[in-house]
């Protein structure tokens, strides 16, 4: 990339007059409810997914309180089954899948591209209302009659369970369309609306990650739609597909289900990796190490992610050859993830590392995601998986990846872009406190679960043998510490929205385009498409104490950047 011909944008001159921002652009309920502004839609998504997260989190605490004693404490086994089903379903379908792409992605994607909006603003609003509608439908179905199939809806249990499986799956179907529309919108936007100068390899890595995610959303989600339709057809019309009583095959359902739900794991983690790439680079004030390899590895993960669904079924009685092939493919997907971790470390090296709250979250991500990734090895290896499958080891593993990974990255991303989104600075000290408590609480919650798993504690148990009690109790204490950390994080952000000092245009010293817009951005983001250079060119970006933020000063171009 030594052939940059365009000078990086001159951002030293602020806008001549305050034109107002997207928050003050218009007012009234309808100006939000019918808005086509991607930023407002992003904020509405943020409100929605955070509400879902609160609900899922309360359910998680209920689970942990119940498991404080071997016989269970306050739930009947039936209620426990409903609570863990609801926890899983809410967290997966209403929180993690839409969290980063729909909330942060919607807000950031056009701004990072230097565009006024996404390609199809109406479709964007439509996908938000599909999400709201699907979420309400799903929650009502689950709450009213108590679904107890687990979030996986495994047949034939889900076919004979008394719960409202058809309604719940219909909710998933609607949510799926929301996801597809968002993905479609992002693909078209990135393909067609990049500004002059932004070649594919000058895109911020968050956009590479979002783009890879969008591909999975568009290609995999329809399979989930088909699966739940088949399930509905079987339950309502009695067509034998998955039910052995009707000559169906229950394992077929698992293939269908995981063909979506495994790539969905990458819908959850890829955007998180995108966030981490931005955070590591900006808060180390240094260009990203191995840009191309990170970009390629996002695409590689998206593609490999389609081929490894069988590792959820190693004990389901698939043919040996099939099982072995899936194991091999599973290991292939571990490599690009490892590469990313090394590249992030390389980014910090010789930079100027500032331990802001977002950076602490990013570092916590690397720590937790590394554990999550490494504990995937004994699950991908066939002989050990036969012991560990469906035990707490798996529960701990995917919480390390999904929660220690995606959620922590999401929080880091929110802290990082919060000044941009609401135009206010949060309290840095308490932001750092929240990151520290979340990190400690998370490990206390889930490290003991690895040991529970290797010692043979099966998952989805409402009661358990006395020898597992101490580890379960540690985990419960950890869950409350974790909850406290998240509460602090929430309070810090809410407090800042009201009392925070005004955010400068570029509080962290970022080089991507969202740091060129004022905080918060104006309604149209950019008056005309900006001319862009390298998103990780930090030369000349310096702190200006007068405005409390960073500006780019003219610098001597010695050439040979990269």
């Amino acid at each position: 990339m030594s052939t940059i011909t365009t000078k990086p944008l001159d951002i030293t001159a602020p806008a001549a007059h305050e034109p107002g921002n997207f928050l003050t652009h218009s007012s009234g309920f309808l100006s939000w409810a019918l808005t086509l502004d991607h930023k407002r839609i992003g904020l509405m998504y943020l409100t929605g997914v955070m509400s879902s997260f609160l609900l899922g989190g309360i359910l998680a605490l209920m689970i942990r309180v119940h498991l404080f004693q071997p016989a269970g404490t306050f739930l009947s086994p039936q209620q426990y089954n409903q609570v863990f089903t609801l926890h899983g379903a809410v967290m997966v379908f209403l929180f993690i899948i839409p969290s980063i792409p729909a909330a942060l992605g919607n807000f950031l994607l056009p701004v990072m591209l230097g565009a006024k909006d996404v390609a199809f603003p109406r479709l964007n609003l439509c996908s938000f209302y599909l999400w709201v509608g699907g979420a309400i439908f799903f929650l009502v179905a689950l709450l009213v009659t108590g679904l107890d199939t687990g979030w996986t809806f495994y047949t034939p249990y889900s076919l004979e369970s008394k719960g409202p499986v058809v309604l719940a799956t219909l909710g998933v179907f609607i949510l799926g369309f929301s996801s597809i529309f968002t993905g479609l919108n992002f693909i078209v936007t990135i393909n067609t609306m990049r500004p002059p100068g932004m070649t594919w390899f000058r895109m911020p890595l968050f956009l590479w990650a979002t783009y890879s995610t969008a591909i999975i959303q568009v290609l995999a989600t329809p399979v989930l739609g088909i699966t739940v339709l088949l399930l509905t057809a079987e339950r309502v019309l009695g067509i034998g597909i998955f039910d052995p009583k009707l000559n169906g095959d229950p394992v077929t359902f698992q293939h269908f289900f995981w063909f979506y739900s495994h790539p969905a794991v990458y819908i959850m983690i890829l955007p998180a990796m995108g966030i981490i790439s931005e955070l590591m680079s900006v808060h180390s004030h240094k260009g990203i190490f191995g840009y191309r390899l990170i970009a390629y590895s996002s695409v590689a993960i998206a593609l490999f992610g389609f081929l490894v669904w069988g590792h959820h079924m190693f004990t389901s009685g698939m043919a040996n050859v099939t099982t072995i092939v899936f194991s091999a493919l599973t290991f292939s997907v571990s490599i690009p993830s490892a590469i990313k971790v090394f590249n992030w470390l390389g980014t910090m090296y010789q930079g100027t590392v500032v331990l802001t709250a977002p950076m602490l979250y990013a570092l916590a991500f690397i720590f937790l995601f590394t554990i999550g990734g490494l504990t995937g090895l004994p699950l991908g290896a066939l002989s050990t998986d036969r012991h560990l499958h469906d035990t707490y080891f798996v529960v701990a593993h995917f919480h390390y990846v999904m929660m220690g990974g995606t959620l922590v990255a999401f929080l880091g991303g929110i802290f990082h872009w919060w000044p941009k989104m609401v135009g206010k600075m949060y309290n840095e000290f308490f932001g750092q406190v929240s990151a520290t408590i979340v990190f400690l609480g998370f490990n206390l919650t889930f490290l003991p679960q690895f040991v529970l798993g290797t010692r043979g504690m099966p998952r989805r148990y409402a009661s358990y043998l006395p020898e597992f009690e101490h580890l379960h109790q540690m985990s419960t204490y950890g869950a409350f510490l974790l909850g406290a950390g998240l509460l602090v994080a929430g309070l810090v952000l809410l407090h800042s929205a009201i009392y925070g000092r005004k955010a400068p245009t570029n509080p962290w010293g970022g080089a991507t385009l969202e740091w060129v817009c004022s905080s918060p951005p104006p309604h149209d983001n950019f008056a005309k498409p900006p001319v862009v250079g390298d998103p990780y060119d930090f030369r000349g970006i310096e702190y200006d104490p007068k405005i409390g933020g960073y500006v780019r000063r003219p610098f001597e171009d010695k050439g040979g950047h990269h």
Binding site: V251, H285, T315, S316, I339, L374, A381, R386, T454
Partner: protein, 324 residues
């Protein structure tokens, strides 16, 4: 490999009670140490950068992105090699676990919501798994209703049981003792208590146990109780202390008129019991509207066994044949 010394029970694992356990534990520990090595390396690099390159007055780090082909090649190549080794070693152990030897002791395993039953040569059926030490055993497993999974942690084995087909698994117990068997695939309300005891014993003890089980108890009430508690597993859903579990309790119901889901009543007598065991949905009790969860025992109960059950049902508390 003294690092991975074989201890009967370690921090990570329960006892090693099958021939598979050694390989699984060794392999797990090997992966653990490899992982720890890389984890420590990663965290050390992270902490080093956090300290050495921390933003502080008078320090300005480089802004130029680094790029190092040599480094990037090696940190891609080395993980690849390790991944290939882990994959291969996993397959090696797995194929051992999947290759069933010819000369095995066979046990028929039947999983239903929410009980296990094990049938031995000669037709003995109980809710306990009895195995002979140092003798390969094959489980021929089927499910009456939904997915279950048989999981014996001390043997390090687990296999799903899929309704509509037989699934086989094998293992060779190596350590005498009493162990736990769990259901590891979520199967509904009482999934967490779908547990069975596993007894690994010497050939002699096993033979004696089997011979004893073969003889029907001379006392029909005792025989009925044994069926209720062990061999037919009624206890999983029906209490005898009046508590509603899944199905109705058997306390004090004999001879009474019980209310039906369809309205009306029926006298709880020999014929009603017989019908309800063989065709549970025919006359479902009120409060248990469809009795959908109760499997039919048609073909699983001999006439004498039903008679014994009737003896037991007449008085679930005390054996009337036993003189105090």
């Amino acid at each position: 490999m003294f690092l991975f010394a074989d201890k009967p029970a370690t921090f990570w694992f329960p006892e090693q009670a099958s021939t598979f356990a050694k390989e699984v534990d060794w392999f797990y520990m090997a992966m653990l140490y490899i992982s720890l090595f890389f984890f420590v390396l990663i965290v050390a690099a992270m902490v080093y950068s956090m300290i050495a390159f921390r933003g502080r007055p008078g320090y300005k780090g480089s802004v130029e992105a680094l790029h190092n082909n040599w480094l990037e090649f090696w940190w891609t190549f080395i993980p690849c090699v390790i991944a290939v080794w882990i994959f291969a070693r996993g397959v090696y152990g797995y194929l051992d676990q999947m290759t069933i030897p010819v000369d095995t002791n066979d046990v028929e395993v039947r999983a239903q919501k929410w009980a296990w039953s094990f049938t031995y040569p000669g037709g003995v059926t109980t809710n306990e798994l009895h195995l002979v030490v140092d003798k390969p055993a094959k489980m021929i497993m089927r499910s009456d209703d939904v997915l279950h999974a048989l999981f014996i942690p001390v043997f390090r084995v687990k296999s799903d049981i899929v309704p509509g087909r037989y699934t086989n698994m094998w293992f060779e117990p190596t350590l005498e003792g009493k162990y736990d068997l769990f259901c590891a695939e979520y199967c509904g309300d009482k999934h967490s208590v779908m547990h069975a005891d596993v007894y690994v014993e010497s050939q002699k003890t096993y033979d004696a146990w089997l011979a004893k089980e073969m003889l029907p108890p001379s006392d029909p009430w005792e025989w009925g109780k044994k069926q209720y508690e062990k061999s037919k597993g009624c206890i999983a859903c029906h209490s005898i202390d009046g508590k509603k579990v899944v199905g109705p309790s058997f306390l004090d119901s004999w001879g009474k008129d019980v209310e039906l889901a369809t309205g009306g009543t029926v006298k709880f007598d020999e014929n009603y019991l017989r019908e309800s065991v063989l065709n549970p949905q025919a006359k479902a009790r009120k409060g248990f509207e469809t009795a959908a969860l109760m499997p039919s025992y048609q073909g699983r109960l001999k006439e004498e066994e039903i008679s014994a059950l009737i003896e037991f049902m007449k008085n679930v508390k005390n054996n009337p044949n036993k003189k105090e």
